[in-house]
Symmetry: C2
Subunit: 728 residues, 2 copies
């Protein structure tokens, strides 16, 4: 094992490529330390070995894709990642090579043309990066040797950032193999550790086999048995209905029919996004397919025109290997196929894939799959790995799903890497599953969830299914509007300074009034209205106690959040921690509220100009709304006609009149009366205005509320709740 | 007593005029109820009787002074006051006559010309006001009969607003008598209940008699034995040095010398304000003096030119009566007299008056004074009422002091009348003492403190004293600047939500660090600097533990408050309760801090551009300052050169960087590093910047703070305190 501390090229054997993630909950500290050290060095060496496929050092400065950095960036990047995270975690005191680290930290994703202007970059020499990598390797080894840690290794463990660095490097092992695959062929060379599968021929005929439906129950919590990225954690429950799935991944041969049917030329088969991508892309075939004119071999059919670019070689098209495409191409194939077969053919959802994986038993025999570098540095025929009658349920190539990545219930970002998943919760990054030949470590762990932009190329293909069930392809995105997100936290987030949730506490007191009211108690048909519902918590709290509740707010943004909660039972939002550093939150509607959420209707509506339809209520709650209106007196004056006789009106207000919002002549109080010179409080003004139609119920009640503006800055208010009963 | 419930004119006897305020701490409820009812009706009737001095009802519509309402306003006003306060106190459910009440509520003080345009006023008939007064009288009597109250009667008692109305009416009894005195003579008539003193002649020669100095200790708290206005309550301690006081009030005769010496023409005798008033006023003599050309009586000396206007009569000048002047005239007389006598002649301060009153024993025999309407409806000779060798220490006419009214320690406004005194805390309203012939009730209670604008006329004169002691004539006014007042409350006010005083808690932790520091502990010569001291509490808290402390703030308004506290040990400020309704606060520096306040120096200074002189400190505290600067990095960079080796730097910050204040490139943290892409917290940025010169001391500590914006709106923040020791 110690030989790995300073490996030279070719010192790795094929056996060294075969790894397994350390188990974090089992074993003793010293053997775990040795295991992690071994895993780290294998990972670091394997990554370096991959770059031995470049023909010479000048290739490090080529950009495999016009929108990506040259490979030297990626060569330095995985080491820089270790340094950055270890400095952030205060495990390293100082940077190791600030110059290289400033060059190699940012830019993994596609960038705009501006960012890639080479004039901005003074790339370090390959030798300098090699030296740097060795320094980082030494530093990490020293750290692993000396770290004080205990089992289980959890998110807080000092070992976590080291595991994070390792798994991060294993991701780049794969993505760099894709970049190398995108280099000109004459810039790369074959490598004994990365052989191409020699086995190819005609593809088997695909068919659809039944998959019985069932329930999905995920509850993955820290500490877990193996390292995981933030998006894996949390709860997820779903029901999958029966469907049929293709026996094989779609092979190059099966896909050729789509190409030859003019699939790339027919807009009907493509989504709107797919058509945009299609028009931008010159190729009318999968990206790693190479059409060679004039090299047709005698005796071959016309398929012999096509070759396949592998990582370091071009080979005659292996028709029985899985086709490699992006999501948009896979999706287009399904539409075509659907039309051809007159069947609801489509890509599976993540849940459907998980169901297939479960019924296939694929995870029980990970040695029986083309992944973890255990066979070749390429795909293999689609009919080699039988998983319960299906093939390649895991391994060979990634399998696109229709599901954009979304957070599970209870999602939290890891503080050392808060932008690993967060930026991808945008309904534009689709999950693919199953892993490919070079997927290792966390990538082939059953919990992991990777997602890429839909036009991105990886070693990825697809398996289609037949199902008439709808697939969710739009998930609530993170509310980033500052005010809306603050209100999300206000209604559904943490409590601060020991102040209980305001809309919950307010509605509890409202419900108590309902239950004490001689006219309204025990009635099953109560209609309620909340004006100023913001992001809806008050309405959800009322719903269990009434027949229906309508929430109105001036802001469509807020109504949108409330509607998301009603539809999905969850919201995501980001709120300021400090400056531009955000806290990311996912909150779920409590089960006791979910059950009644269907009674809620949320509508955008100007409280100053309510439509006549909003009437006939037994309860109207006006929450912090009148103090924001130009004319609160007019607002109050039209409430009686909207409320049934004997109904209750509840007003919550902080009475913070601002001349900017409300002309002083319309303030309910907070001034000296121009005739008497006496102070008129808002409660007095309110009482006077309502007295014609209402009797006060009980005494006014002050209720605190806290709105977080940042982790160090809060608005702490005292709202006054008054209850009024409309005379019969 | 029941005859008073519906009195007709002349039903009062002179004996009925002689009243005493009900004692609020003694007796049983029913006899107290009867006593208050009697006192109320006597007051109400006496006030009505006063208006019987008007020749006919048309006179009610005359304005005795161009800047005042006609008398009908005042006739209705005292009844309206009852209604307003009783409605406010929720003791009356509805107004009694909204029209009259809206006319007669506001306008007691001088107003601008605009307000007095008669076209704006549709004054009610005298008969209507009489009817209204009877309705109010009935309502108040019913209330007194039925109110549920207990003894002692305190500020919260439902009986308090009734007593307030009574004493308010007694004030107007006096001020209306002045207005009547200002009417044309042919508009008034004499009245058997208000006879003029027939006794006059030459004045005795005045002289200065010694008054031994002594201490004043006032500690007047609610509940007290008798009704009092807000300004009487609280603590006041003072030391009065020996002085001499005039034996008599200044008589008309003594004042004549000043008039004849051209006193009204010589600017040298007048204060700046006095000169302004003098130029505005045509008269060159006291306002109630009447010069009658051609009515000189044979045998009289040239003094016979002068007559005196009394309330309903003009009489030949009673030279031995006290002269009646405003403060400005009294003050001018003293300057003239001082010059003549080559002695430090001046008006007394309130404290000097109180000392004179005490040593004279005047309060022991209230029957021996011309007040409480017990003799005449006019002044009497200045040598009738001997009070320990002095005369008229109380009674006859009010006696101006040099003291502008200011609040005692612990001053609070009564919620039912928050603008009784507050608007007069402006250094423009001077206290007069002692009462006059028509002063009754609270006016002649030893606790009361009345003040008028210095140019105002009442039945007021003066007694001069001889003293070289300085007199305080400028008191801190109420800080009304919104932000400054919020900071006053933040530093010296109430605690909210259980959060302890922030500057106190912060400096306690700083002092603890000083005491634990091996270099600094036990040193008696420590020099400290606070940057961002706001209104100074932090510096005052540091002072007991260091030799000197300098507080710097960008805002001169804040520094001014800190300086007031240093000088006077107290500040006053008003903060928003609701809308424009304010809470008025007086706060005192705790004795433990007062003793060291002299070590504090407060200076306005831009923290971004500190002068070089601010250096050589052993302790620098930067409180919430860097996050408000354009360049916090530059600010931090210059601190080491201002701090002695081994000295401590303390930084309190909420790290709430705003791009509006600080360009993001100068933020200490709260962003993703542009090279590493990692979150940089402000604490990390701060640590990096300070590491060249400082070692951190202890762990960062979060400390909450609450800034009140209104009674229902607060900014609740968490500040982070870090301590840094400069390397030796």
């Amino acid at each position: 094992m110690s030989s790995l501390t300073h490996p030279n090229q070719y010192h790795l054997t094929r056996a060294d490529l075969l790894t397994a993630m350390p188990r974090l909950t089992q074993g003793d500290v010293e053997s775990k330390r040795a295991e992690i050290k071994h895993y780290f060095n294998l990972t670091f060496s394997t990554y370096e070995t991959l770059f031995e496929t470049l023909r010479d050092d000048s290739v490090f400065y080529l950009r495999p894709c016009s929108l990506r950095h040259p490979l030297i960036f990626y060569f330095g990047h995985t080491a820089t990642f270790f340094t950055n995270k270890l400095v952030l975690a205060k495990l390293l005191e100082a940077r190791i090579n600030p110059h290289i680290e400033s060059m190699c930290a940012i830019g993994v994703d596609e960038m705009s043309w501006d960012d890639l202007n080479d004039a901005h970059y003074d790339w370090p020499s390959v030798e300098a990066v090699r030296t740097y990598r060795q320094q980082v390797r030494d530093a990490v080894n020293r750290l692993i040797d000396t770290l004080d840690f205990s089992l289980p290794i959890d998110w807080q463990s000092p070992m976590w950032p080291i595991l994070m660095g390792i798994e991060h490097e294993r991701i780049h092992l794969e993505t760099s193999s894709v970049l190398i695959r995108q280099l000109p062929l004459d810039k790369v060379r074959s490598h004994p550790l990365f052989p191409v599968c020699p086995d190819h021929g005609d593809a088997p005929k695909n068919s659809l086999l039944p998959v019985s439906g069932g329930e999905i129950h995920i509850n993955h919590q820290d500490p877990a048995d193996t390292y995981g990225w933030d998006n894996e954690y949390g709860r997820h429950d779903a029901v999958v209905t029966d469907f049929k799935a293709a026996k094989f991944l779609v092979s190059n041969q099966e896909y050729l029919a789509f190409v030859e049917a003019g699939g790339y030329e027919n807009a009907d088969y493509w989504s709107e996004e797919g058509n945009r991508w299609r028009q931008f892309t010159p190729d009318k075939h999968p990206t790693f397919w190479v059409k060679k004119a004039g090299v047709k071999k005698t005796g071959d059919n016309n398929q012999a025109d096509w070759w396949l670019r592998c990582m370091t070689e071009e080979i005659p098209m292996p028709w029985n290997w899985p086709v490699e495409v992006n999501f948009l191409e896979a999706d287009a194939f399904c539409r075509w196929k659907s039309q051809q077969a007159r069947l609801p053919i489509r890509l599976p959802s993540e849940d459907e894939y998980l169901r297939l994986r479960e019924v296939s038993g694929a995870m029980l025999h990970p040695e029986n799959a083309n992944h973890n570098l255990q066979f070749y540095a390429s795909s293999m025929p689609v009919d080699r790995f039988n998983h319960g009658g299906f093939y390649d349920v895991i391994g060979n190539v990634w399998q696109w799903t229709q599901t954009p990545i979304y957070p599970f219930e209870g999602f939290k970002v890891h503080p050392l890497y808060d932008d690993f998943t967060m930026p991808t919760f945008d309904n534009k990054h689709n999950i693919f599953k199953g892993g490919c030949w070079i997927s290792t470590g966390n990538e082939i762990n059953g919990h992991s969830r990777y997602a890429f932009r839909r036009h991105f190329f990886q070693h990825a293909g697809f398996r289609y299914i037949e199902s008439a069930a709808a697939v969710q392809t739009e998930y609530p995105t993170f509310e980033t509007d500052t005010t809306a997100a603050q209100h999300c936290e206000f209604h559904y987030g943490d409590s601060y300074f020991g102040v209980t949730n305001f809309p919950q506490a307010m509605m509890q007191s409202v419900v108590k009034q309902l239950q004490q009211d001689t006219d309204l108690k025990n009635r099953q048909d109560l209609k309620a209205l909340e004006i100023g519902c913001l992001v809806g918590r008050g309405c959800f709290e009322l719903a269990p106690h009434v027949a229906e509740v309508t929430g109105l707010d001036f802001s469509a943004r807020f109504i949108n959040v409330a509607e998301q909660l009603k539809q999905n039972g969850a919201i995501r939002y980001s709120i300021v921690q400090e400056g531009e550093i955000m806290d990311f939150k996912q909150r779920d509607l409590a089960d006791r509220l979910k059950a009644h959420a269907h009674k809620c209707t949320f509508l955008q509506q100007d409280p100053a100009n309510l439509k006549p339809i909003f009437s006939g209520y037994d309860l109207i709650v006006a929450t912090h709304v009148m103090e924001r209106l130009h004319d609160p007196k007019a607002f109050l004056a039209q409430l009686p006609q909207r409320l049934n006789a004997g109904g209750l009106l509840v007003i919550a207000s902080t009475y913070d009149w601002q001349e900017s919002a409300t002309n002083k002549s319309r303030w309910l109080g907070g001034y000296k009366d121009e005739h008497t010179g006496e102070n008129v409080t808002s409660l007095e003004g309110l009482t006077a205005l309502l007295s014609a139609h209402f009797e006060p119920v009980g005494a006014p009640r002050d209720m605190p509320l806290v709105i977080r503006q940042s982790a160090r800055d809060y608005s702490h208010q005292l709202s006054q709740i008054t209850v009024w009963k409309k005379r019969r």
